[in-house]
């Protein structure tokens, strides 16, 4: 599964995208974030305040409880500020 990061989340984690293979117990976007948090300090720091994080699953807006089964691409980013 591909995970993408944007804006300050990308900067804190240090990469814009990566391929990850979480264990089967990781069933939702929320689980994925918890799992990433446990990997390295930079992830823990980036996901410190989960309320500031938005989610897209396969390029559609989604929630933390969105299931990951069959998903190809998860994007995590701060609230959008375009326009």
């Amino acid at each position: 599964m591909k995970v993408l990061y944007f804006a300050w989340l990308r900067e804190r984690i240090g990469v814009g995208s990566e391929d990850v293979t979480p264990p089967e117990t990781v069933e939702t976007v929320g689980d994925l974030i918890d799992w990433l948090r446990g990997r390295e300090a930079r992830y823990a720091a980036a996901f410190e305040d989960i309320s500031a994080i938005k989610v897209a699953v396969d390029q559609e807006q989604a929630d933390f409880d969105a299931p990951l089964a069959g998903v190809r691409e998860v994007a995590l980013f701060p609230p959008v500020t375009g326009g």
């Binding site: 804006a7 990308r10 807006q61 994007a75 980013f77 609230p79 959008v80 500020t81 375009g82 326009g83």
Partner: protein, 153 residues
């Protein structure tokens, strides 16, 4: 017409003329142009989510076309590094009457501001850069349209 994400500037007059010429019954063209506000900054950099951005803008446009009797709608959003005063975004719609045109243009901007995956980073005069915070008022502006009820037109 349509939806575009690009680094290049755009030609507002050409876009508005194209909307106005779509149909002999276009009576109203409303446009919003967003500019980089220049106070205290030397540059504005726009990051986006290629692939999702275009889909999100197409979805926002489709929703506007479904809610109001529009003959056309245009959304152009720039990405990359822009100077103060530069155009960032153009939203424009064509309709028979002004009520629908004003509402649809404001709707497009409110939804774009909260649903299209763009992020702004400002570079200050001292060289430091910071990501622009999302504004709570943008969320409440978008929430106004949730009921599906149009305002008085």
């Amino acid at each position: 017409m349509g939806v575009r994400v690009q680094e290049a500037d755009f030609d507002v007059a050409a876009e508005l003329d194209a909307l106005g010429s779509l149909d002999p019954d276009v009576g109203a063209v409303v446009s919003f142009t967003g500019l980089v506000r220049g106070s205290g900054i030397t540059a504005m950099t726009l990051e986006h989510y290629p692939g999702m951005t275009e889909k999100a803008l197409e979805a926002i446009k489709a929703e506007a076309m479904g809610r109001w009797p529009l003959q056309g709608a245009t959304i152009i959003h720039r990405v990359g590094t822009l100077a103060p005063g530069a155009r960032i975004v153009l939203v424009a719609v064509a309709s028979r009457h002004r009520g629908a045109a004003f509402e649809a243009a404001e709707f497009l901007m409110d939804y774009l501001k909260t649903r299209a995956p763009f992020w702004k980073k400002e570079t200050a005069e001292d060289g430091t850069a910071r990501w622009v915070d999302a504004r709570e008022t943008d969320t409440s502006a978008a929430d106004r349209w949730r009921t599906g009820d149009a305002k008085a037109s």
